[in-house]
């Protein structure tokens, strides 16, 4: 892989932004899939019961929340890596 940090500034920034947008889109799709989609199918999901929790109810009260927390930390982690890859790291200030 060529050294992305040596690209012309405008090109480097453009590519960095594109990768960021792609990551945001993927995470937003997951975000939508764990919160809005289960609401549409809640009655079917409620037929599945795990440890006393009907699955539809569980997704609304815990399942989606856990995914939200993980997604945000993952984004922070992935962006730190992306920053470093393009030589835009904010670390050593």
């Amino acid at each position: 892989m060529s050294d992305l940090t040596k690209l012309p500034v405008a090109e480097r920034n453009r590519r960095y932004w594109q990768e960021n947008l792609r990551l945001i889109t993927i995470l937003l799709v997951i975000w939508f899939a764990v919160s809005y989609v289960p609401v549409l199918f809640v009655e079917a999901l409620n037929n599945i019961v795990i440890a006393g929790f009907p699955l539809g109810y569980y997704m609304g009260s815990q399942g989606s929340l856990i995914v939200f927390v993980v997604e945000i930390f993952y984004y922070a982690y992935a962006m730190n890596k992306l920053d470093a890859k393009y030589g835009l790291s904010d670390r050593d200030r």
Binding site: I24, G52, D90, D92, R93
Partner: protein, 719 residues
């Protein structure tokens, strides 16, 4: 590691140590109180005061220690709050008296439908993390109107944004002040008005002396207190009921218990939806979407305004859907649209609320801001994934031990709560032997509404009940009472679920659940006092953060940026401080009549933010072509559509689209705002080169506050 990164980590470790000691101290104090209560019989009044005074003294101490005259410290806590602590502060800032006390109550009442709030108020943080926080931190000024003003080039956009921020924050802070007054009244036994003044003085010591810096570090302490206070009672209840100490895992058992009891007591029934063929509405705790629409809140609000201010407004005719008398109104229960609209508005609104957004100005770097949203949501999550457990355990206990029982056999805590007016047992059997003229308030209301008639047939001055008989025309009689409400079930002395009401006058909705948990579990009074301290911490911390937003909108955006750009640093800080006092006094005055309308307005704030701040900030970052005229048109159009739907549906539930209530009206304003921003921007001139460079700069993650300030100074429009 550079010198500044090293000093950051030293600072973080020192703070972690301080707050570690503080946590141990708080737990130690609670244990001491517990032992004194159990073994030395310490009076409950003293326990309440100790908790109250010690926590308030602590907040004041932090406020005094972090007093400051530096602008950066006053408005953005010196921009050196580490991610974890900013997360706790955001958590406390976010979770208000409503989250702490009413969240579980809402779930208790609404069952699945209440989960729209749980997902809505957490899912918004994902948007905040992915779309807003890093860029706002990069921008790194003082307020959100700062951003709107710089990005959309001009003071008009800034002033519009500042006014929106003031209106939203002022209603919000008023609701917190009401919460403070109620908690003080209930647990310390002082008068509501005195409670308000006492609580506000606590808020003022912090925010007045130390601005955002003091507020931030106090909020960290308040978060620790509120989360301990929230988790302890429900854990005890979980151990008692299921033998397992993690309530968030064990309440599945409660959900099963609820479903079984609902079936036994005939509380779950199925009806076919008249709107969607083949769709069934199942009532009960687990089945979704069985909330109807009604304008009861609007009717109550108007009546309350009339009595409080001696007005003579005509309340709208009470109406609810489904309405058996007017089946043509339709019934959207059984469909998910209202739930989805409400959830979306709460999520988008969360990401657009100024007092949360400014928290991300206070961290040292873009990098830290991303982590900080993660910590914020984690700390909020701890409370929000526990609230459904509270609700489920409490519902289970009430169905099992209270509903369907003889009134004489109710558990003793229900009697305590009934005598304090916290719950109302509405079985008419309680009237037997009551002196005429001394009936409880809810009975007097029934008598005034002519649905209950009392006649003292034997002239002994007391109400005597007899066996129930049907006297026709939908009325019944039992001894000396008769009327439409006198049904067999209401005089049988057995408590039905719908006979268990709440005293509504106190304004906090459904607060029974969290507050009654120590009683249901038979826990000592100390735990109750701890809950009160937690609720107070939740209300005070939110109020603190909001006061800073209001003060900076006036002192910074309106005065310094618009009216007098030459104002000295000192003038700006003095003005900021005096605005905090003014805002606090206004909030106290608004809180005195305890209007139900205030709580309603807080709920509306989310819809309004979703249709204004959210699209404007979003497109400002992600679409370079968005310009000033577009933003102004978008904000005004989005707000207008939202308010139009809101006002119409609020007074007349028959006005609805897909059964969406006024709480979700932002869902109609948002697309309008987006379309207007896009269309108007494309029709007008593209933003200047400087502004496009600013957007590029925002997208570059290397924090550079000095460079950003220089860039903004150059851009400052000719005044």
């Amino acid at each position: 590691m550079s010198a500044s990164a090293q000093s950051q980590s030293v600072f973080r470790n020192r703070m972690a140590r301080y707050y570690g000691y503080f946590t141990i101290g708080f737990i130690g104090m609670s244990l001491l109180m517990l032992l004194l209560e159990i073994f030395a019989g310490l009076p409950t009044q003293i326990i309440s005061w100790v908790f109250l005074l010690l926590t308030m003294a602590l907040y004041a101490t932090i406020g005094i220690l972090s007093r400051t005259k530096l602008l950066d410290e006053y408005y953005v806590a010196g921009r050196n709050v580490p991610a974890v602590f900013n997360g706790m502060a955001t958590g406390a800032d976010w979770m208000s008296a409503a989250s702490f006390i009413s969240m579980a109550g809402t779930l208790w009442l609404l069952g699945y439908d209440g989960l729209a709030y749980i997902m809505g108020w957490t899912g918004g943080y994902v948007l905040l993390a992915l779309l807003f926080a890093p860029y706002l931190r990069k921008f790194g000024q003082y307020t959100i109107p700062d951003f709107v003003g710089a990005r959309f080039g001009g003071n008009t956009a800034r002033v519009v944004a500042a006014i929106c921020a003031i209106i939203v924050s002022l209603t919000y802070v008023t609701a917190q002040v009401v919460g403070v007054g109620l908690i003080m009244q209930r647990f310390v036994g002082v008068d509501y008005a005195i409670g308000v003044v006492l609580g506000l003085s606590g808020v003022l010591v912090c925010s007045f002396l130390g601005g955002m810096k003091a507020v931030t570090w106090t909020q960290v302490a308040q978060y620790i207190i509120l989360i301990i206070a929230y988790l302890v009672p429900v854990t005890a209840l979980s151990i008692q009921l299921t033998g397992f100490p993690i309530p968030q895992l064990s309440y599945g058992q409660a959900l099963q218990g609820i479903q079984k009891l609902e079936e036994q007591q005939g509380l779950s029934k199925q009806t076919e939806s008249p709107v969607v063929k083949g769709k069934f509405i199942t009532s009960g705790y687990i089945p979704p979407f069985n909330e109807g629409l009604s304008n009861a809140a609007a009717v109550d609000a108007v009546k309350q305004l009339n009595t409080q201010f001696g007005l003579n407004l005509t309340p709208p005719a009470a109406q609810s859907i489904p309405d058996p008398k007017k089946p043509e109104l339709g019934d959207w229960r059984g469909t998910p649209w209202n739930f989805l609209a409400l959830m979306a508005c709460l999520m988008l609104g969360t990401a657009g609320l100024p007092h949360i957004l400014i928290r991300f100005y206070t961290v040292p770097s873009v990098r830290e801001s991303r982590m900080s949203v993660g910590w914020s949501l984690f700390f909020i999550f701890l409370l929000y994934f526990t609230a459904p457990a509270y609700a489920a355990f409490s519902r289970w206990q009430i169905l099992e031990n209270v509903v369907g029982k003889q009134i004489s056999e109710l558990p003793s805590w229900t009697k305590t709560w009934a005598s304090n007016g916290l719950i109302v047992i509405r079985d008419l059997k309680v009237l037997d032997g009551v002196e005429i003229g001394k009936e409880p308030g809810w009975v007097k209301n029934l008598i005034n509404a002519k649905s209950l008639v009392v006649e003292d047939a034997n002239g002994n001055g007391k109400i005597d009940l007899g066996p129930w008989e049907d006297i026709g025309e939908g009325k019944g009689r039992a001894g000396e009472i008769s009327g439409t409400v006198v049904t067999k079930a209401r005089v049988d002395g057995i408590l039905q679920l719908n006979e268990l009401g709440r005293a509504v006058a106190d304004g906090i909705d459904g607060d029974l659940v969290v507050l009654s948990t120590p009683d249901i579990a038979g826990l000592p009074f100390t735990i109750g006092a701890m809950i009160a301290a937690g609720g107070l911490a939740a209300a005070l911390s939110t109020a603190d953060g909001l006061l800073v937003v209001i003060a900076s909108a006036i002192a910074h955006d309106i005065y310094f940026r618009t009216i007098n750009p030459k104002a000295s640093l000192n003038t700006r800080i003095v003005l900021g401080k005096s605005m905090i006092v003014v805002a606090a006094v206004i909030a106290a005055l608004l809180a005195m009549p305890r209007l139900a309308l205030i709580a309603q307005m807080v709920a509306w704030a989310f819809s309004m933010a979703a249709a204004t701040f959210f699209p404007v900030v979003l497109l400002g970052i992600f679409w370079k072509r968005a310009n000033g005229p577009g933003a102004i048109a978008g904000m005004i159009g989005g707000l207008a559509v939202t308010l139009f739907y809101m006002a119409n549906n609020y007074v007349n539930p028959a006005f609805n689209v897909l059964g969406i209530s006024h709480l979700g009206s932002g869902i109609f304003g948002l697309p309008v705002a987006v379309i207007l921003i896009v269309v108007v921007s494309l029709l007008t001139k593209e933003p200047s080169k400087e502004i496009q460079d600013l957007v590029d700069n925002l997208r570059n993650p290397i924090t550079d506050d000095e460079g950003m300030s220089k860039m903004l100074d150059k851009m400052a429009p000719a005044k």
